[in-house]
């Protein structure tokens, strides 16, 4: 038998890690579903059902079997994309999530783009001009970003840019006149309206998304610029940079061709983490901006005691979170020659 190449071994161990972590996630959500004070049978049939109906559903749900068997059934169902039926909407939770998820994806993607395009240059500049006003500014931006409750900033943003200045549209995804004009392709309104050439809808959707996306972008900006700064500082203090300067290379070349090139992989890792955080952080923002995404779906279901929907949403976000985490870790290990 030929020896297993090391990259295959690494890939194998990573896949095992992903599987174990997701299994752990399922176990936690399963246990949450078990300890909750709501009777899952009554949640399905209502309170006025007869004892026979109760028993029937009780056996249907597999509640008579040992816990470990119940867990196995649960995992098998989830792996097939079956999260059960939502009590609130009366539909399959997986269908509901497929419908609301693109809205969150759109919001988080735009937010991350804003964070990257502003945060990376800010971090690089702060590192290069260390101690200058731009470094102070980066520090200030970060500090505010780490300290402000995101839902409050959303409210203040609405008050200022919608209520007083009237620069953007208010809560919601698109104005009432433009609803349902664009036939969904990807589910992301900006993309769909571009593909269909509906520029009016695009403009209206953009004026709705820009404020929440900028706020989310601000939070990832705070994180990305801080990390970029510390990565850059580490590079700028190393000897090859001194060598490059001694050789007489221009400052621009030293910074962008030498130092920045070496932090690209680390940066992608950070961006992936920032993206994962935004998917999660969008929960509160979606509530403020009445954004019909997965965060709002989870919260509304939660207030209606619709546990299937809550746990389904938790699993979807958790899985994406885990995958992004591990993806960034993998990227790091494969492309950074030092870790080989």
């Amino acid at each position: 038998m030929p020896p297993v190449p090391p990259w295959l071994k690494k890939l194998g161990s990573t896949l095992v890690t992903v599987a174990v972590t997701i299994l752990g996630l399922l176990f936690v959500t399963f246990m949450i579903g078990r300890v909750m004070p709501i009777d899952p049978v009554l949640a399905v049939i209502g309170e006025r059902a007869t004892q026979e109906q109760y028993n029937e559903v009780f056996y249907d749900l597999g509640l008579d079997k040992p816990l470990i068997v119940q867990f196995a059934i649960y995992v098998a169902n989830v792996l097939q994309g079956d999260f059960g039926t939502s009590i609130r909407t009366g539909q399959q939770v997986s269908d509901d999530i497929a419908r609301v998820f693109p809205a969150t994806l759109e919001l988080a993607t735009l937010g991350t783009l804003i964070g990257v395009f502003l945060g990376v240059p800010l971090g690089v500049l702060a590192a290069v001009r260390r101690g200058s006003w731009i470094d102070q500014l980066a520090r200030f931006v970060g500090l505010i970003g780490y300290s402000m409750p995101i839902f409050w900033l959303g409210l203040v943003g609405l008050l200022l840019f919608y209520g007083i200045l009237n620069w953007v549209s208010g809560p919601g995804r698109v104005g009432i006149f433009y609803q349902g004009i664009v036939e969904p392709i990807t589910g992301m309104l900006l993309v769909d309206s571009t593909l269909r050439g509906e520029w009016e809808v695009f403009r209206d959707a953009f004026s709705h998304i820009i404020l929440p996306a900028s706020l989310l972008g601000y939070y990832s900006l705070a994180y990305i610029s801080r990390m970029t700064r510390s990565f850059m500082l580490e590079q700028l203090n190393s000897e090859y940079i001194i060598t490059a300067r001694v050789k007489g290379l221009s400052e621009r070349k030293v910074i962008w061709h030498h130092a920045f090139r070496n932090i690209r992989i680390q940066l992608i890792t950070v961006i992936a983490l920032a993206y994962a955080n935004l998917l999660e952080g969008s929960v509160l923002t979606e509530i403020i901006f009445a954004w019909p995404g997965i965060g709002q779906y989870i919260t509304v279901s939660l207030l209606a005691n619709d546990m299937n929907a809550v746990l389904g949403g938790t699993i979807v976000i958790g899985t994406i979170f885990v995958c992004l985490n591990i993806f960034s870790d993998l990227l790091y290990r494969f492309f950074d020659p030092r870790s080989k």
Binding site: M36, M148, L159, Y162, L303
Partner: protein
């Protein structure tokens, strides 16, 4: 010739605290604390953080004395008054309750939540991390795998699901936040334990016949505390924000309790016409988490210069 005559006089407190060669264990410890304090005091931002925090704690302690109104007393005739109007410093909310007085009592809730989480989460992490680090072998693998699983979870979402299962309320919110916050502490405690485990003084205690429980609790835990304290201080802002987020969603403290997140949630409907109802509690949350962030950064610079990235 002052120096020659002075040795007989008693050293001042300052000299005693700055002694190069402490003469007792107590003095050595006091010197360490005092030098740390001097380093901390020179950090302006950290001092600002400390001052804000002390101010908020004093407000919370003396809330009944400082409050101008009963925080729960409703008066529908006085609803939505603007700040400064008729003796209501920050105005009134939709039920006519004085926002200033509610803020003062709300500070108690926030500090209560932070303190509880800051005690529970590091303790869980400390226990798991030191056991994993000291025991090694398969126990280490299993415990760290569990830690990694929890670390990979989205925190707010998981806390939401926990609260949904346990029922809304402050204690459950604390439990949910603590259950999602412990993994980083476990990692730190394990890393510290691994470096301590093979030192000579631990071997010496083992030879004296000390059991693992005694070694972990009496000899390893005290050495893990300082790095945990830094991490906890840095995390406190995050704890406040998560707690406020849960309160905002209606899953933390229940009405009519003056929790800041819940107050923002109540004021949300009136944001366009009566901005102060939602804005002022948000400023309070911002102030306390900013204070914790400044303080945490300062503490890190003092206690752990290597990590500060300066």
């Amino acid at each position: 010739m002052n120096e020659l005559t002075s040795p007989s006089t008693k050293p001042t407190w300052r000299e005693w605290l700055l002694a190069e060669e402490p003469t007792s264990r107590r003095q050595a410890r006091a010197v360490g604390w005092y030098q740390g304090w001097l380093a901390f005091r020179s950090n302006t931002l950290a001092m600002i953080g400390l001052i804000i925090l002390v101010f908020l704690i004093v407000c919370a302690i003396f809330a009944p004395l400082l409050a101008t109104h009963d925080p729960y007393a409703q008066d529908l005739g006085q609803r939505l008054l603007p700040p400064g109007f008729q003796g209501n410093l920050f105005g009134t909310d939709s039920l006519g309750r004085d926002i200033y007085s509610r803020l003062l009592f709300g500070a108690r809730i926030s500090i209560y939540i932070v303190l509880l989480v800051a005690m529970v989460a590091p303790l869980i992490g400390l226990i798991i991390g030191t056991i994993a680090g000291y025991a090694g072998g398969w126990i280490d693998v299993v415990l760290m795998r569990i830690t990694d699983i929890f670390l990979a979870f989205p925190r707010l979402i998981l806390a939401l699901a926990f609260v949904a299962a346990l029922g809304a309320g402050i204690e459950n919110a604390v439990l949910a936040i603590a259950l999602t916050a412990w993994p980083p502490y476990a990692r730190i405690a394990r890393a510290e334990t691994l470096t301590i485990r093979n030192t000579d003084f631990i071997h010496a205690i083992q030879l004296q016949g000390a059991g693992p429980v005694r070694i972990i609790t009496k000899h390893i835990w005290p050495l893990c505390i300082s790095s945990l304290v830094i991490r906890v201080t840095l995390d406190m802002a995050g704890i406040i924000l998560t707690a406020a987020g849960l309160g905002f969603l209606g899953l933390g403290a229940q009405p009519p309790s003056p929790e800041w997140g819940a107050m923002i949630s109540e004021g949300r409907k009136y944001i366009l016409d009566h901005w102060w109802v939602a804005t002022i509690p948000g400023l309070a949350i911002f102030a306390i988490s900013l204070a914790f962030n400044l303080l945490g950064d300062g503490l890190r610079d003092v206690l752990d210069p290597k990590e500060s990235g300066q």
